[in-house]
């Protein structure tokens, strides 16, 4: 077997780190490692944490890591952070809250930028989930960009979806909006020492009770109150997360999630491949399109000509 892969499978951190970089680069070598890892047994419980910026996702994850590593579990954390639409650079600060726990136990934390993708997840993040699963981690926690209402990509990607809310971010109408507030298996009300917590709790419970679109009729979403920074409520959250895992296994849905997540990976890979083609095409034709007078701008002809160029390139 390949040396790097072998060392990574034995848990050597630098090998895991280099392996992830090779996978992220989408090189042939990287993709062959990923393909190998994806054929290995899958068992990891994947947990997605999402919610508004500043709602306490990273702090809560640090608490989860502490508890899981106390139980002797091997934990991987993927932190998805926004990239600049202008320079593609990023400022990734989510690790700060986890630095204290990162040197203990069997914990591997890796940050990825969204690379301009919408929806809160990036191709790298999806590939890393597969890689960590193949490498034998027990828990894989994914923190997504705090994008808010449209941050629904997690839906087909993780086993257990945890959505964070904080009191004081708007009235109950916000909770009733479509999108993010439909995907949670567990809703966390963090910073629960603040005023208006009862109002938010009522609104979320109303949302859950009145929901007909629940993807799964046998799991009623849980509501947990936490003060992550003080570790309050974390044990309740963990027991709800474990209940949800058991529920998925009992109802034979656990493996189905893995299959769906792989279809999503293929979808996102293809999307990002075609995005690059479209970007290149636009940048090479932009100047030509900018100089056309408005009264001569033939939208249909331009679209057809660009589509023709895409077809030619295959």
């Amino acid at each position: 077997m390949n040396d790097l892969l072998d060392r990574a499978l034995r848990g050597e951190e630098i090998a895991i780190s280099k392996l992830l970089t090779k996978i992220e680069s989408l090189s042939d070598e990287g993709l062959s490692y990923l393909s190998y890892l994806m054929r290995r047994p899958t068992k990891a419980h994947t947990i997605g944490i999402t919610g508004l910026p500043g709602s306490g996702k990273s702090t809560l994850i640090a608490e989860l890591i502490k508890e899981y590593s106390r139980k002797g579990l091997r934990v991987a954390v993927i932190l998805v952070e926004p990239s600049s639409p202008f320079t593609m650079g990023s400022f990734m600060g989510n690790r700060i809250r986890m630095q204290e726990v990162a040197t203990e136990g069997n914990i591997f934390i890796r940050s990825v930028s969204t690379e301009g993708n919408l929806g809160g997840l990036s191709l790298s993040a999806l590939m890393f989930i597969e890689a960590f699963d193949g490498l034998g981690f027990d828990k894989i926690i994914i923190e997504t960009v705090g994008a808010g209402q449209m941050d629904v990509d997690l839906k087909d990607v993780v086993h257990t979806k945890v959505v964070l809310n904080v009191p004081g971010t708007g009235d109950e109408i916000q909770v009733l909006k479509a999108g993010l507030m439909e995907i949670g298996d567990i809703y966390v009300i963090n910073k629960a020492e603040r005023p208006d917590v009862a109002l938010l709790e009522d609104a979320i419970k109303f949302l859950i009770d009145s929901s007909e679109s629940n993807n799964d009729e046998n799991w009623k979403p849980r509501v947990v109150k936490t003060v992550a920074i003080k570790g309050i409520g974390v044990n309740n959250l963990i027991s709800d997360i474990e209940d949800h895992k058991r529920y998925l296994i009992d109802t034979k849905r656990y493996d189905e999630v893995v299959r769906k997540r792989r279809i999503k990976l293929i979808e996102i890979y293809l999307r990002s491949y075609f995005n690059k083609i479209i970007k290149n095409l636009l940048s090479t034709n932009e100047n030509y399109m900018l100089i056309i007078n408005n009264n001569e701008f033939d939208f249909r002809a331009i679209i057809n000509s660009l589509l023709g160029k895409i077809k030619e390139s295959f």
């Binding site: 630098i14 320079t87 400022f91 630095q99 990162a102």
Partner: protein
Amino acid sequence: MERRIKVLIAKLGLDGHDRGAKVIARGLRDEGMDVIYTGLRQTPEQIVKAALQEDVDVIGISILSGVYMELVPKVIELMKKYGLENVGLVVGGVIVPDDIPKLKALGVDEVFLPGSSIREIANSIRDVVKRKRGIKVE
């Protein structure tokens, strides 16, 4: 595919001032780099472990407390222990000019004093990455 440069910016030791580190982190982001900021009061172990897991190209240490001659060697020692010899190491902050050659002799690639511009720092980081990592940079 060319990769964006990945930099870890860290405050080393008992040092509560991070405005400078944040300005640098933000500036490097605007230069198109992926910047991981690990926050205040980091031990050498925490910094090197983060660099290891993130597979960064460069570690940038910001230090204003004056104890760089005590703590930077520990960082270098750990970098060797974990096999990060080909990761760049740059130090910035309040550094006595006479100590710059000493730091470089220890294995620090570049030292930036107050007044350095972001562009200057970014370009020097690009040079360090080219030299140490042997990768193409944008």
